[in-house]
Structure formats: structure tokens, C-alpha cells
């Protein structure tokens, strides 16, 4: 791993000459220092903070035995929490897919007063701590709150219900969808739209047949990112969800409940299940990003 830096010539000028002589070599020699040091530090730091603790969790789970692991992961209470966590995350991502697409389109294509301010505000869910988002959305959606009051006469319960979970997860996922679509829309070649228009396509046809296919990879990536974030989300959801077992209990909360009851085996089993889900989602996101990257190139 230190091959590059150890073979480095002591004379920078000689090395530079060599570079000019063979510029096309894939692994050309470099005169820049620090490769071994920085890579070693990166790997050591990642191992200490991330990899060893994560591996320890998997090892711990393996001491449970498959039967016990499977029993905890498929308990009715666990299954109910997956249904809520995955279902609400999916709905939140779907809402963001529709409105996020409109927001991205409007921010990129149109000029109107307040556009820059709105554009900057899109990142608010990234920047606002989740606990603050949680208590604020709960206050708004509670029966006495500003939103709750409008919905109560319609018989809709926005807080302490699965709908509340969807609202919180929509808030959390919003920037992921908007920020993945925006750059693709910005770089979209105006000529293809003009070509479609000059060939007699209506604006809707152009949008549907020319623009949307270009946006698909980014849109799917954004949806996957929002979904992945929402599945693990805790802070913004616990206040608004009501936390009733079997009804409004999300999976991350189930882990905390088990920890509070000193059920370390149970918490570990659910935690490892969540980790596996995260890894699968990470893989899906990487494939989607690779696909959008290839489309862009």
C-alpha cells in the first residue's frame, strides 16, 4: 500500500521528466508525498470508529444463534414495526418524488421572487436537528396545533398516528429528492427539447417522452436516498408517532425499548436486521448512482 510513495524518486525533477515521457500510464509514478501516511490513517480511523464496532455487533448477534435471532426478528411486534417503518418511509419518499420533482423543476426552470430563498431553505431538513423537527411537527399536527385544527373536522388525525410518521419522514426526505434531480435538470441539453418541439411534439409530449426519461435515474436515486434515510430515522418521528406498540412504533424505537428493558439480545437482533437492510439499500443506491452517472456521461 505504500508502493507509490516508497518508489518515489528523491529527485522531483527526474520524476517529472519521467511523467512527461509516459503520461498515459494508468498508475503513473507521482511526486506527491503522503500516500502511505494518509491511507494508513484513513483505514485506521475508519476501522476504529466504524468497522470494528460494526463487526463486533455482527459477532455479538452470531452468539445468539439463528433460532433466537429469527424468533426476535419475526415477532409480531417486530413485524408491525417493519410495516410502519417501511410503509411510511415509502409513502414519504413517494410524496417527495412527486412534489420534489415539481420543486426541483420550478427552482431550475423558472424565475420568480423568493426563488433563491426557497432554494436555500430546501436544505433545512438536513440542517435542523431531528429533535427540533420532531417537537415542531408534533406541535403543529397535534389536535390543538395549527395544522391539526384544520384536519380534525375532516376526521383526520395527523399526530400520534401513522399519518404523523409519514409527515415526519416526508420532511426528512425532501432535500434528498430535490438535490439529486436539480443538477441533472440544470445540465439537461436545451437542444433536445427544441428538437422535439420543432418536430411537432407538444410540450407535454416533450416532457413525458424526452425530459422524464432523462430524469428517471436521478429521481429513483433520490427516492432511494430518502427511503434509506427515513427507515433509520428516529428523532423527528418519536415525538409525533405516539409510540404505541403494534400500531405506531417504528423499528428504531423498538431497539431503544428493548435496550431500556435490558433485552440486549433482542436489541442486537433487530439492530443487525436493520444493518443488513441498510447495506442492501446502500448497494441499491450505488447501482442507481452508477446508472445515472453513465447516463450523464
Amino acid at each position: 500500500m505504500t508502493a507509490d510513495s516508497s518508489t518515489r524518486s528523491t529527485s522531483p525533477a527526474a520524476d517529472a521528466g519521467l511523467r512527461v515521457a509516459a503520461p498515459a500510464r494508468a498508475r503513473r509514478r507521482t511526486i506527491l508525498p503522503g500516500f502511505g501516511l494518509t491511507l494508513a490513517f484513513t483505514l485506521a480511523y475508519l476501522s476504529l470508529i466504524v468497522l470494528i464496532p460494526l463487526s463486533a455487533t455482527f459477532v455479538k448477534a452470531s452468539t445468539l444463534g439463528w433460532a433466537q435471532f429469527w424468533r426476535v426478528v419475526t415477532e409480531p411486534r417486530s413485524l408491525a414495526s417493519y410495516r410502519l417503518s417501511f410503509g411510511a418511509s415509502f409513502l414519504g419518499a413517494a410524496v417527495n418524488a412527486v412534489f420534489g420533482l415539481v420543486v426541483a423543476w420550478v427552482l431550475v426552470r423558472y424565475r420568480f421572487p423568493g426563488r433563491r430563498l426557497l432554494d436555500a431553505l430546501v436544505d433545512l431538513p438536513f440542517a435542523l436537528p431531528t429533535a427540533v423537527a420532531g417537537i415542531t411537527l408534533t406541535t403543529l399536527c397535534a389536535p390543538g396545533g395549527w395544522v391539526g385544527r384544520q384536519l380534525a373536522p375532516l376526521g383526520i388525525k395527523a399526530a400520534f398516528s401513522p399519518l404523523g410518521v409519514v409527515i415526519a419522514l416526508t420532511f426528512i426526505g425532501l432535500p434528498f429528492v430535490v438535490r439529486t434531480i436539480q443538477p441533472v435538470l440544470q445540465n439537461l441539453d436545451a437542444e433536445i427539447e427544441e428538437a422535439a418541439a420543432s418536430l411537432g411534439a407538444s410540450r407535454w409530449q416533450t416532457w413525458r417522452r424526452v425530459i422524464l426519461p432523462e430524469l428517471w435515474p436521478a429521481l429513483l436515486t433520490g427516492i432511494a436516498l430518502a427511503f434509506a434515510r427515513a427507515v433509520g430515522e428516529y428523532g423527528s418521528v418519536v415525538f409525533i408517532s405516539g409510540n404505541m406498540p403494534m400500531k405506531t412504533e417504528i423499528t428504531p424505537l423498538l431497539i431503544i425499548t428493548k435496550l431500556d428493558q435490558y433485552d440486549y439480545a433482542g436489541a442486537t437482533a433487530i439492530g443487525v436486521f436493520m444493518l443488513v437492510v441498510s447495506f442492501v439499500l446502500l448497494l441499491v443506491i450505488n447501482v442507481l448512482q452508477w446508472w445515472s452517472g453513465r447516463r450523464a456521461a
Partner: protein, 271 residues
């Protein structure tokens, strides 16, 4: 001239976007400030001056003060290795750096409990040496470190990759030392990306809730960070006080967004 939609479609779409963002972003932000001052400015200031609130502020500053510099050093080192050199497994390393983003904050806390908690791998050893990590400050710092690992590296890698290696190589050829090259050539080139990474990392470090909540134990005045203090106040129905303390974090978020917008504007104008 770009082909565009009829004005009616344009304004309908703008109205939908403004309404959606107004409902999901502007309304919550306004609510934090309104609720914080519900009982007047006196109650607002009193909530912030409470000893437990001050202790929470101190702990949050401490955790971020440790986590952010460490992750800055890590981010620069990782970006240097990844952007300036070719080596096998680079893509895998980048995925590994992003890993903490895809792990649920609660699971991030859990893995440290399983490692350092009384039931954990190192629990007996730590107890024998009278060291507490879980339900104590070290656990909070570790959990904060974990969730903020990717921020700086993630901003710097694309910036350094776009910059290439020519400028540094030229500096070396002209006789500059390694550190000299780094401070005089690399740092000026990446300063905006670095600032961007630092403010995002800091916002997350100060606002982290799930991971810290698992390892904290909620010991008042000792292991409660600002977000945990907000949670306690809110759950005890001290709503105005909870929002007063939360407004500090909302302010932090706004400052983060302003710096971010400024950095983006700066980068656009430099190119």
C-alpha cells in the same frame, strides 16, 4: 430562447412548489420561534439561563469540539489519499466512508453499547479499570464521531479530484516540501469545500439526537446535550422552555444554511 410552458402551467407549478415548501419548511421554522416566545422574552431567557440548559450547551460544545476537528483531519487525509493517488479498492473505500450515513442513528448508538456497555465486549475490562463510556461523556463523543465521519471527506473528495494534481506537482518540482505544498497550494484550493464540510459536520454534531440518546442515559446536567435537554423539557410539558432551547438549534441551522449559500455563491463566482 428555451422552449417553455404556457404561463398558466408555469404559475400553477410555482404555486404548488411554494405551497409545499411553505407547509413543510417555512411553517415549522416559524413555529419554533413563535412557540419559543409564547411566554414572553423573560421566560425565553430564563429557559436558556437554567443551570441544566447551560450544562447541556457546554456538553454539546465539548462533543462537537472533539468530533469536528478529528473528522476534519480524517476528511483531509482520506481526500488526499483518494483524490491524489490511484490505488485498487478506492471505490470500496469511498463506500466505507459513506457507511455511517446509511446506518440508523439508533443502531450507531447500539453498536457502542454492545462494545462498551456493562454487557458489552469491553464492559468487564472497563469496569475493572473504573472507566465508564456508556451513560457518560466518552460515549456521547464516540456516538457523535460515528455519525459525523463522512461529512468533511465527502465534500473534499470531489473538490480535490476536480483540482487534479498538476498544481501540487508543479510546487514540488519548484522545490516546495510536502507540508509547504499542502499549506500553500492545496489548502487555498479547497478552502471553500473545507468550510462547507466543517459547517455541515458541526451542524450534525451539535444536533445529533438518536445515537446520542442511546448512549447518554439522560443524566440531567451531566449527560444531556442540547437536543436531549429539549426532549426532556418537551416530555415534561415545559413546551415553551423546550422551544426556547430548540430555537438555539434552529438558529444554528439557519446560520449553517446562510454559510452554505454564501460558499456556493463564492464558488460560482470564482469559476
Amino acid at each position: 430562447m428555451r422552449v417553455t410552458e404556457p404561463a398558466s402551467v408555469r404559475w400553477t407549478l410555482i404555486a404548488i412548489a411554494v405551497l409545499f415548501l411553505g407547509l413543510f419548511l417555512v411553517l415549522p421554522l416559524a413555529t419554533v420561534l413563535l412557540e419559543a416566545f409564547r411566554n414572553g422574552a423573560g421566560a425565553y431567557l430564563a429557559a436558556l439561563r437554567e443551570p441544566e440548559a447551560l450544562a447541556a450547551v457546554r456538553l454539546t460544545l465539548l462533543a462537537a469540539g472533539i468530533a469536528v476537528p478529528l473528522n476534519v483531519v480524517f476528511g483531509i487525509a482520506a481526500a488526499w489519499a483518494i483524490a491524489k493517488f490511484e490505488f485498487p479498492g478506492k471505490q470500496a473505500l469511498m463506500t466505507l466512508i459513506d457507511l455511517p450515513f446509511s446506518v440508523s442513528p439508533v443502531v450507531a448508538g447500539l453498536i457502542y453499547v454492545l462494545l462498551f456497555g456493562r454487557q458489552g465486549w469491553l464492559g468487564p475490562w472497563l469496569a475493572a479499570h473504573d472507566v465508564t463510556v456508556i451513560f457518560a461523556v466518552p460515549g456521547i463523543v464516540l456516538a457523535t464521531l460515528f455519525v459525523t465521519v463522512p461529512f468533511v471527506a465527502r465534500e473534499l473528495i470531489p473538490v480535490m479530484q476536480a483540482q487534479g494534481t498538476e498544481e501540487e506537482e508543479a510546487a514540488r518540482v519548484l522545490g516546495a516540501g510536502g507540508w509547504q505544498t499542502f499549506w500553500r497550494v492545496t489548502i487555498p484550493n479547497i478552502k471553500w469545500g473545507l468550510l462547507y464540510g466543517v459547517i455541515l459536520c458541526n451542524a450534525r454534531a451539535m444536533g445529533e439526537f438518536g445515537a446520542v440518546s442511546v448512549v447518554s442515559g439522560h443524566i440531567r446536567g451531566r449527560t444531556t446535550t442540547i437536543p436531549l435537554h429539549v426532549e426532556i423539557l418537551y416530555n415534561e410539558y415545559h413546551t415553551a422552555a423546550a422551544f426556547a432551547v430548540a430555537s438555539l438549534l434552529a438558529l444554528l441551522a439557519l446560520v449553517t444554511l446562510i454559510i452554505k449559500t454564501f460558499v456556493e455563491w463564492k464558488v460560482q463566482h470564482e469559476h
